[in-house]
Point group: C2
Chain length 255, copies 2
């Protein structure tokens, strides 16, 4: 079987896309085959990996409607073993177009059935708990939650965990939380340390030991259409995402 | 008439809530009467102004359903002339519950008809272009767009402007863009300067002269349940939001 993770948090700007790209890149660097699914109508993950918006003839929207298979929809990137099913703005009408279908929650799950064994699939979700994110949770084995080391971060967590429980009791009984990863942590300021202490006290071992620091090289890398691991391999951001990938692989007991 | 602004951008974490709270506080400090409408199911603006989640018996969801008037729904805050209609997680079912109504796009507009003249209403939108944000755009005179000085910022702008045009041609013919305000700008790094130059080249005078700097006091202030203007009145963040308020008042030709 493939390993399918939904990278989700309805709080905006917490590092979902950045984690999808850079955790994906670090895992493919370790030798794993990784497919990203860009499920955000803004298409940031697709742009951050250099997929030209004009060249996204097949997209994740087509995956949902069943018009295209995973194999046909995945685009290679410039990085070995890392491919992506890109997003277009068609996705923003997914709610309106697909919400009348009886299988509206299982659309992505059906499309990912054909995923090759041992492939790691990372689904980048939009900042909402609507149809797209629920599709990702129904399709996934587990949810990885990026949590920005800022005050508002913990406020949305209970709604997110409620949604996970609802999906588990209705459409995906084996859904669990893979973990929570602290992002954009600035150890010079108290706030980050307080949020980290709060998160570890509340969520315990769910929180990854690896903390991703705020690092300007991370935010510069998408403008060069590459993961930070390629843009600046020795940066603090690259080292942290490699460490996260190792910890992630251990949690999944990957070979 | 009241002045109604939707603070919107579907890109997450760009400073919508922070701008609603602090621009609101700066305008009320200047003597204007300000009502915030928290239209985000996460309720960050409500929490950032100290409204206890357990005490939000009347909420912006009730405003949409017509169960409560603006006067009844607005809560005072600890800050003179600044009140808020708080948000609860009920809002997250707004799409499901309200999308069958024929007047589903005008719900907020109808509720705000009773707003007192010369009041400034700032609507904090969630990071999506769904029913809630469209309701805000239909109710508003104009849209204020916070734009984070980061690479992905400009990518979503064309979708946002398309949505504004669509709302103008269908439900609100007088809707315009009040302006674009650069947030979390770090003048130590190139990226911020590049995004600012890009934004001014593309959008010209729409972009406010005032740029909000990244300032840790801004991100600390919601954990003290107050605007940064009260938390640290002489901080760079406070000075910038006061300057923004002055420029905003000039654009609206406020007395
Ligand atoms: N570790 C980091 N250091 C510095 N900047 C970062 C870091 N991680 C992310 N960023 C920047 O922060 C911004 C938000 O990150 P990102 O877009 O990945 O969040 P998101 O959760 O995917 O946002 P959305 O909710 O809009 O989908 C981006 O401009 C990104 O480049
Ligand atoms: N000028 C600033 N300096 C430092 N931190 C800031 C600044 N403005 C906002 N922040 C912080 O950045 C984070 C994102 O800001 P905010 O929550 O206001 O964005 P938003 O657009 O409302 O997010 P969402 O899309 O989730 O609604 C918050 O933790 C906030 O405290
Ligand atoms: Mg994203
Ligand atoms: Mg917000």
């Amino acid at each position: 079987d493939a390993h399918i993770l939904a990278i989700a948090n309805q709080k905006g700007g917490v590092g979902k896309t950045t984690t999808a790209i850079n955790l994906g890149a670090a895992l493919s660097e370790m030798g794993h085959e990784v497919i990203l699914i860009d499920l955000d109508p803004q298409g940031n993950a697709s742009t951050g990996l250099g997929i030209d918006p004009k060249k996204r003839s097949l997209s994740s929207f087509d995956l949902l409607t069943g018009d295209v298979t995973l194999q046909a929809g995945r685009c290679p990137t410039a990085f070995p073993r890392l491919s992506i099913v890109p997003a277009t703005s068609d996705l923003s009408s997914a709610d309106a177009q697909l919400s009348q279908r009886s299988d509206r929650l299982r659309l992505l799950s059906q499309a990912l059935r054909s995923a090759p064994a041992e492939t790691i699939i990372l689904i980048d979700c939009p900042p909402a708990l609507g149809l797209l994110t629920v599709n990702a949770m129904v399709a996934a084995d587990a949810v990885l939650v990026p949590l920005q080391a800022e005050f508002y971060a913990l406020e949305g967590l209970s709604q997110l965990l409620t949604t996970v429980r609802e999906v588990r009791s209705s459409a995906n009984p084996t859904l669990r939380i893979n973990g929570v990863v602290l992002t954009m942590s600035d150890n010079r300021n108290n706030l980050s340390q307080q949020v980290e202490a709060d998160a570890r006290a509340t969520l315990g071992d769910l929180v990854y030991a690896t903390v991703i620091p705020r690092n300007v090289r991370v935010s510069e890398s998408p403008s060069h259409a590459m993961p930070v691991l390629n843009y600046d391999p020795q940066s603090k951001g690259s080292l942290a995402y490699r460490q996260l990938a190792a910890e992630f692989a251990a949690r999944l007991k990957l070979p």
